[in-house]
């Protein structure tokens, strides 16, 4: 158990946020959580394309980078979103394979319609890429179709959802490479937290009773 903990570097990771007193009070739960995170990390697969060809992967990576761009902070590219989507298409998102197989060529058709001199999406400028995706987005207004009733999801909507999922998912679950997505949104990586949690509860003086003169209806 202890070996597992240190291999996972779990307590080191947690200790910045957690005091020894809190830790001792919560020890059984902490050990359970550490073991749990360790098992989850062990099961995540190494990145390797299983569904996309390398060429397709380049295009998907380029689309994802428009949805969550890399600027002062990392984006979908740094989070390895394309690897997450690739793995997803052979596991939890098998139903979406057709959407990608048909959507990627259709995307290239749209690129050439709008920019005849550009060979493929990933060769376009950033402005051109945004324009292509906007045209796909506009043409696929979010119809509230239901999977049960057979409404076909559009390519751009599916890539958008998969990109966001791959950027935001718990890093132990096979996406969000090195937790960069969480770093960007300010979600600390620890598996457990101790109050105070943020700015507003830092100086909380403790519970003070309400005045006893409560009126039931404020209406």
């Amino acid at each position: 158990m202890i070996e597992n903990l240190s291999r996972r570097n779990f307590l080191t990771r947690g200790s910045a946020a957690v005091s020894a007193l809190w830790l001792s009070a919560h020890w059984p739960a902490v050990v359970a959580a550490a073991e749990h995170a360790h098992q989850a990390a062990k099961s995540s697969a190494p990145p390797k394309f299983q569904f996309f060809t390398p060429e397709e992967a380049t295009e998907v990576d380029a689309i994802a980078a428009c949805i969550l761009p890399s600027d002062e902070t990392p984006g979908a590219h740094e989070a390895g979103v394309v690897y997450f989507i690739d793995r997803g298409l052979t596991t939890f998102a098998v139903d979406d394979q057709k959407t990608y197989r048909e959507g990627l060529p259709a995307l290239q058709v749209r690129v050439r319609e709008l920019f005849p001199s550009v060979a493929k999406f990933s060769a376009a400028t950033h402005e051109q890429r945004d324009q292509v995706l906007r045209s796909l987005d506009e043409h696929s207004a979010p119809a509230r179709t239901d999977s049960q009733s057979g409404g076909a999801p559009t390519f751009f909507h599916v890539v958008r959802i998969h990109t966001i999922v791959g950027f935001m998912i718990d890093p132990d679950s096979g996406g969000n490479h090195e937790g960069v997505g969480w770093k960007v949104i300010g979600r600390e990586p620890e598996h457990m937290f101790q109050p105070p949690f943020g700015y507003y509860d830092k100086d909380y003086a403790g519970w003070q009773p309400n005045s006893p003169d409560a009126e039931k209806s404020k209406a």
């Binding site: 902070t73 987005d137 909507h157 958008r160 960007v184 300010g186 039931k216 404020k218």
Partner: protein, 569 residues
């Protein structure tokens, strides 16, 4: 260490079959087996344990690890009984040992005295069939206390001036306050309201071999991997197994209750994992399958004596469904709250629990809570389940400000700024019992086993929507007093999706207007009992599970007394 778990043969007539292992089923299993009875619990979902509970949003929410499966169990929706229902995901409930108590928020308010006697107090409400309960708050009080002490609830007795009387304090102090709770408490007091620490079915201290909450932040929609959330799985189910008289049989999908020519039920028919059919014989059957599946099971069990559904001589099985009205107002603050840490809710207020219809112009009442219950993907996609199932582009949780671009730099910048600075005020409120609002059997749609699917028929009573809008205004007042930088509400609109499943086999003294009596025995069948959200006569103000569990403890006492007097068999 592991208790000797019994394995009963299906031909072995046990004392009780309990259908469902959730909030009510878990407690009935525990109480009845503790009282010396031989019990088989048939649960349609799998028997998962803490080691299965991960933070993987795709697995847990996207793939319904813990919940009903739309692909296997399609559902339909319509607004009124005259329409043809269209296939659509219409409800969510826990489908595993422990039921919905595994993934719930764990808000554990008691109902107040008014919830049991409201019809007498305010008179009839047009368009609804509001009724008093056949029991009062005083009847249920000892059982609320039992839930708090035996299942484990954190809270502070006396903190809310509106709380009903209680016989004992909470067994442990409230959970720590979150940033959302501090903001809520300060602003509410400025307005002269009375916020208080949220009663939560989550351990604030180690107790009974279970560790305290570690504030991991994956709480609502997730199973607790350290057992700090007081689900039936972490509590009652294990206590039931310790008696050595209770068998929990997972992956057992009950689809019919058998009856003999004397009008007594003889057991429950179920599919096992391989879809083989079995009949588990029992002296009595207790159905705790939730407010949707319990009426469905009765309707599926129609027979010669009860052509409209078992125990449905009244014709109201499945009707008077109440979902609890209300929605979320979201706000962004200047500094990071980091409210993603911890459980969902740390402060509540009940100043609006009993509104005067003469003053506000509608019937109803509610409570506000301060929370952040979003996990990262759900936050960015603005409503996980719908987005994932439908691939529809706009969710309706509205966690991002209206008008936020859906992709690109501005989208990313909003996520970056808002995720740590967002909190929500959830308005919970009453729903009126309306006869047309129901769960019924869809005439066409079938589940993966070939059985009629659930059809949800629902159109909110106008007062329920007025209450929702009224409470949104209070939430905005509070957020103004708190100095929120931005705030917006989910639009008030008619419900098309059910989470709280209440009132569909309601309790009452009159067999014409209710399905069970105050002992939870069906009026029609002497050895058939129902206990879960379906038993509720009124909706309360939005947090039903505490009351469902108190009812289960009480039902177990009633059933035990009947059995000991020889009045069941």
């Amino acid at each position: 260490m592991k208790p000797d778990l019994p394995k009963y043969k299906t031909s072995d007539e046990v004392d009780f079959v309990v259908v469902g292992s959730g909030a009510a089923g878990g407690i009935l299993a525990k109480e009845l087996s503790t009282n010396g009875f031989r019990v088989v619990v048939l649960e349609q979902g799998p028997y998962l344990t803490e080691s299965d509970f991960v933070h993987d949003e795709v697995k847990v929410i996207g793939e319904d690890l813990l919940t009903n499966k739309p692909k296997l169990q399609p559902t339909s929706f319509r607004k009124t009984p005259n329409e043809k229902a269209k296939p659509q995901r219409a409800l969510v409930y826990g489908r595993l040992v422990g039921g919905t108590s595994v993934h719930f928020t764990a808000n554990f308010w008691r109902f107040h005295e008014i919830d049991f006697v409201e019809r007498s107090k305010i008179g009839p409400v047009p368009g609804a069939d509001l009724r008093d309960w056949p029991i009062t708050y005083a009847d249920l009080e000892p059982y609320y206390t039992k839930v708090e002490w035996e299942i484990g609830v954190s809270g502070l007795a006396g903190a809310s001036p509106f709380d009903p009387p209680r016989s004992k304090p909470y067994p442990m102090p409230p959970l720590p306050v979150k940033g959302s709770g501090v903001i809520f408490e300060r602003a509410a007091r400025k307005l002269g309201w009375h916020p208080f620490p949220a009663p939560m079915a989550i351990l604030s201290q180690s107790r009974a071999g279970r560790g305290a909450c570690i504030n991991c932040g994956f709480c609502l929609s997730f199973g607790c991997e350290v057992g700090a959330k007081s689900s039936s799985l972490a509590t009652a189910i294990r206590m039931a197994e310790k008696t050595g008289r209770c068998e929990i049989r997972p992956n057992s999908y009950v689809h019919r209750i058998e009856m003999d020519t004397n009008g007594r039920v003889t057991g429950a028919v179920y599919f096992d994992e391989q879809r083989n059919t079995h009949l588990q014989k029992a002296k009595a059957v207790v159905v705790c399958a939730n407010g949707a599946e319990t009426p469905r099971l009765l309707l599926l069990s129609a027979n010669k004596q009860f052509p409209n559904g078992l125990a449905n001589s009244s014709g109201i099985v499945g009707k008077y469904l109440m979902l609890n009205s209300g929605g979320v107002t979201t706000a962004v603050f200047e500094h990071p709250l980091n409210d993603y840490k911890g459980f969902a809710v740390s402060r509540v207020l009940h100043d609006f629990y009993e509104l005067d219809p003469q003053k506000v112009g509608f019937y109803g009442g509610g409570g506000l809570d301060a929370r952040f219950d979003q996990t990262p993907i759900g936050f960015a996609l603005e409503n996980w389940p719908n987005i994932w199932k439908d691939h529809s582009g706009s969710g309706d949780r509205n966690s991002l400000p209206p008008g936020t671009p859906r992709w690109g730099k501005a989208f990313k910048d909003t996520l970056t700024h808002n995720f740590s600075r967002t909190m929500e005020i959830f308005a919970h409120g009453t729903s009126l019992p309306v006869e047309n609002n129901s769960f019924s059997l869809d005439p066409d749609l079938k589940d993966a086993w070939g059985l009629p699917a659930l059809c949800l028929t629902y159109k909110d009573h106008p007062d329920d929507l007025k209450l929702w809008a009224w409470q949104n205004t209070r939430a905005h007042e509070l957020l103004d007093a708190a100095g929120a930088q931005k705030k917006w509400s989910q639009p008030v609109k008619e419900s098309e999706f059910a989470v709280h499943l209440l009132g569909t086999c309601r309790m009452g003294n009159d067999p014409k207007t209710s399905v069970i009596n105050s002992d939870h025995r069906t009026h029609d069948v002497k050895n058939l009992f129902l206990c879960d959200g379906s038993s509720l006569v009124t909706s309360g103000r939005g947090q039903p599970t505490m009351t469902i569990e108190a009812l289960a403890f009480r039902a177990a006492d009633c059933i035990t007394a009947l059995a000991k007097r020889g009045e069941i068999t």
